[in-house]
Amino acid sequence: MKVNPVRKYLRKDSLPHFFCPGCGSAQVLNFFVQAAEEINLDFDQLVAIGGVGCTARIPVYLDADAMHGIHGRTLPWATGIKLHNPQLKVVIFSGDGDAAAIGGNHLIQAARRNLDVTMIVVNNLTFGMTGGQAAPTTLKTLSTTTTPYGNLEPPFDICRLVIGAGATFVSRSTTNRPRQTVNLLKKALQHPGFSLVEIISQCPTNFGRRAINSGDPTEGVMWIEEHTLLLKDAGAYPAVELEDRYVVGTFVDRIEPVFAGSSVYASEECECP
């Protein structure tokens, strides 16, 4: 019998997974193990981390060392792990709530420090697990379970946020670009320093049904495609038209020294207590 070549990366005890039919987070799990297979990622040296949320469950399905279960604190965990054992490969699977709402400060600080981790942010523009409430990434005017008359807040652009904070690899893709996304993940996983890949994703159950009036995953993906522009084409559009569009591509890819702690022994004597 033929076995799926990436099945070996999955934690059998945790299956079947809990994702809804058509969920983008399940696709991202698939993209990640494909990328891992193609770069021969050593799962003995991998630590996969998720906070709370649907995307945060991805590490639960990976046959590696894994942490799960505190909303927003994935990066502090990663900080402790990487400082103590820099040889480990730390990959964070984060929803937009984990990354940009409760964990927003940790996000900008980790980017500023150039912490050597890969952060995969699956942005479905909503709090999917809890029922489809508005997130800091929800576009203006969209209806959610906590913005029944339309969202009044402007959204965060997660990529621009971490670029501003100093991240050294920043890119964005969408769930309807499987090959491109796998390639970006491979690049991010091989990048020394803070790498972030944002993947715009459909949540048929709690974003689709509430914000775009369709629980059909295909329509969710079509909505994403309608709101997407390639980086090479974006320059031709006026700023006002870019406001509710996701520019897809790699924005930053440069090498800087990685974070090794706040205090490293430097000289014979220092002015310390």
């Binding site: 945790s14 990663a78 402790g80 400082l83 040889q87 706040s262």
Partner: protein, 383 residues
Amino acid sequence: MTSQTRGKRVLTGTHFMMGNFAVVEGALAAGCDFFAGYPITPANEISERMSARLAEVGGKFIQGEDELCSIYAVTGASLAGAKAMTATASAGYNYMQEGIEYAVAAEIPCVIVNVQRCRGENFATQADIMQMRWGAAGDHEMIVLAPASVQELFDYTIWAFNLAEKYRNPVVVMSETTIALMREKLVIPEPAQIEILNRKKPEVPPGQFLPFKPDANGVPPMPAFGEGYHTLYSINPHDERGSIRWDPDVFEAMVARITGKISQHTDDLIRTEGFFLDDAEIILIAYGSECRPTLEAVQQARMKDIPAGLLKLATVWPVPENAIRAAAKQASVILAVEMNIGRYAGEIERIGAGLCTVKRVTKNRGAVHTVQEILTAIEEAVR
């Protein structure tokens, strides 16, 4: 720091040292190789000295962006194999509750030093003693140690690391402004004289290892990340394999084991010390810096032929039930001395109910009791 301290984990010798520094030296002597902290008075000297000393001995230091970063960096480092610690003060401890809950649920050894202070001001208090026991969500047990001097800050920090490693539970060193900022004599022994405990490692290869299957003490052996054991840590209910699963029986058994490993080993966890207890009819019970004026008051009472004694609680959580019960059986009156509006007194009243009278001697105005205040309380009790 200096060429005298570089590379040295244990500064054997006699020192005149600040309490917050003694915590650092105790941690290093215990094998601490990771520290994360966020600035807060009156705990700052711990972070400052750690930033210098850890770098000298090859450990890692991070100044987090907040207390949440600190406690989670500590738990992450611990899972990667570090002996890790953070330090904070009352308001900062509030933020850490969340990470402490996770450390309890996922059984992550770590040490937290909490230098208690008055709300927003850096004066002395013991008002957070209940928070350190009950602050985190969910059913849990806590180990909280209450040093009363600079020497005990050193000694108990080592003890805290040993208990954290042995029981895979967070351990809190309950410090106070008084002893944290005080300078007094500290004797640091030779490294060989210091007992160090390390977490148990798995004795079976990865394929046969069940990460949450306990040993005879109720504590599972613990591999470090990267050793090939592919362990899943989650706050969610999990079985012995670590797989997340909701089953009321699994959940109940998990909580019973995680709390039981503490509640069933109180003999090992609890230390108390008695002063003038043999024939005491009035027993004062105190912890932390309140032991200092209390002991002096007991000695002065003895000079007045009042049969007073002191039961000093080195471990405050779990509650030293047996020692307190024995005191309640022996004495006609117990005085519960503490620097708050009367928090731990409730525990003493619960244990002493029907055995003797329990009177509260409380003070919450930013300073320890004076000897005279306690002596007056003793004299009123015998009147």
